[in-house]
Amino acid sequence: MAEAKRVPGEAGIWVLIGGDLLVFSLFFLIFTHYRGQQPEMFARSHETLNGGIGLANTIILLTSSLFVALGVRRVRDDRPGGATLFRCALVCGAIFTALKAVEYGEKIGHGITPLTNDFYIYYFAFTGIHLAHVLIGSAGLIYMAAVAMGRPPSTTRTMIIECGAIFWHLVDLLWIMLFALFYLAGSHG
């Protein structure tokens, strides 16, 4: 196997990755288009977002991606500990989800819902769709941990783990996009 030339995971998963990136890019364009139409309202709404939770979640997901990358390396090198690293990433995913719940609860507690204004329907919908990705990715991590326990390592096992890892990195990347869009650039067009 030519290690340097090989596409990680398998070719087919890039259909899913590419499709997802396409749609989230579309979210990006939609958001900026509508922000351009109502800049003051978007700026006001942006001020109400909890930047602390947003930043914490960004750091948590970046950390989880590091765990996943280290886990994949262990599996490839046929060293133990891959499963543990995937479980650490899973804990990060759980913390991310819990913080999101706190954040949504905070908004709803202040009487802010998806119907409050355009900014909030995008906020709830786009971060909600991303959260669904986090949950699917977490299921993937559970499966990856189980596969990593299997021995001996095989190309199939490695491929499954690489595919799960690619998806988890995608989840991380999509969040970075959303974080930039809502929490950082939400105020200026």
């Binding site: 259909v15 749609v23 329907i121 990705h133």
Partner: protein, 241 residues
């Protein structure tokens, strides 16, 4: 080796094409006769909606008749899908049953919107608010009932991706991943119950155009994949003697 009653490749091909032609007819009568492609804005008043049904009453009802005939022809497509996917399972084919159940439910939600539009057009002179209610029911049924499609798609994706290297697997791996993505995208449709304008409205980019385009691509891919699987099945049975 084979414990299931199988449908002959010729019958499968016939059902597939027949179903496909009827789906095209369904789409054309929705577009040209019912004339709600794309759906009118969700901000239209009862008077505007009632005027639309008064102006197009007969055309919409004829469209609804044709759609009522055609919608059920999704069933043969799912029968062929299940005839192929069932070959990947041993014992009781749970995933194929789930997939088939999702497909059957989907045909119901395919026929309901044209039926409701037809009802709205049936008495164009009734009070406009009542026509509006029927119209809203039709449109929201069309764009928010994607869950049943997903119950069909998830098992297909599972079978496509988990039966690696299975000699009978009709689904290429890229197709499995495409179906996963389709299922994810379809979840967006239900948002149409919230806003009246923008990309999440019932005629919006994310709830209307994208799911419809993706579904059209899915139908086309499924046709190609299944035709190829049927050809392989013929080749295998020929070599088995």
């Amino acid at each position: 080796m084979m414990t299931y009653p199988t449908i002959s490749p010729r019958a499968q091909r016939f059902m597939l094409w027949w179903g496909w032609v009827m789906m095209i007819a369904f789409g054309l009568s929705y577009w040209l006769l019912i004339r709600l492609l794309p759906l009118n804005p969700a901000t239209d008043t009862a008077a505007q909606v009632a005027a639309f049904y008064q102006a197009n009453s007969l055309s919409i009802r004829i469209g609804a008749v044709i759609c009522s005939w055609c919608a059920a022809f999704a069933i043969p497509i799912y029968v062929v899908l299940v005839a192929q996917s069932v070959r990947l399972e041993k014992g009781i084919p749970i995933w194929s049953i789930l997939q088939f159940g999702g497909g059957m439910m989907m045909t119901i939600f395919l026929v309901l919107p044209p039926l409701f539009w037809g009802v709205a057009a049936f008495s164009p002179d009734r009070p406009p608010e009542i026509t509006l209610l029927m119209h809203e029911l039709a449109n929201l049924t069309l764009v928010t009932t994607d869950q049943f499609f997903i119950f069909n798609m998830v098992p297909i994706a599972y079978l496509a991706l988990s039966r690696r290297g299975h000699p009978l697997n009709p689904f290429p791996r890229w197709y499995g991943y495409y179906v996963v993505w389709t299922a994810l995208m379809f979840e967006i449709g239900a948002f149409a119950l919230l806003p009246r304008t923008g990309p999440f409205a019932w005629n919006g980019l994310l709830t209307y155009w994208i799911p419809f385009s993706i579904f059209g691509i899915w139908m086309t891919m499924t046709l190609v994949v299944l035709l190829r699987a049927i050809r392989q099945q013929e080749a295998m049975s020929a070599s088995d003697g």
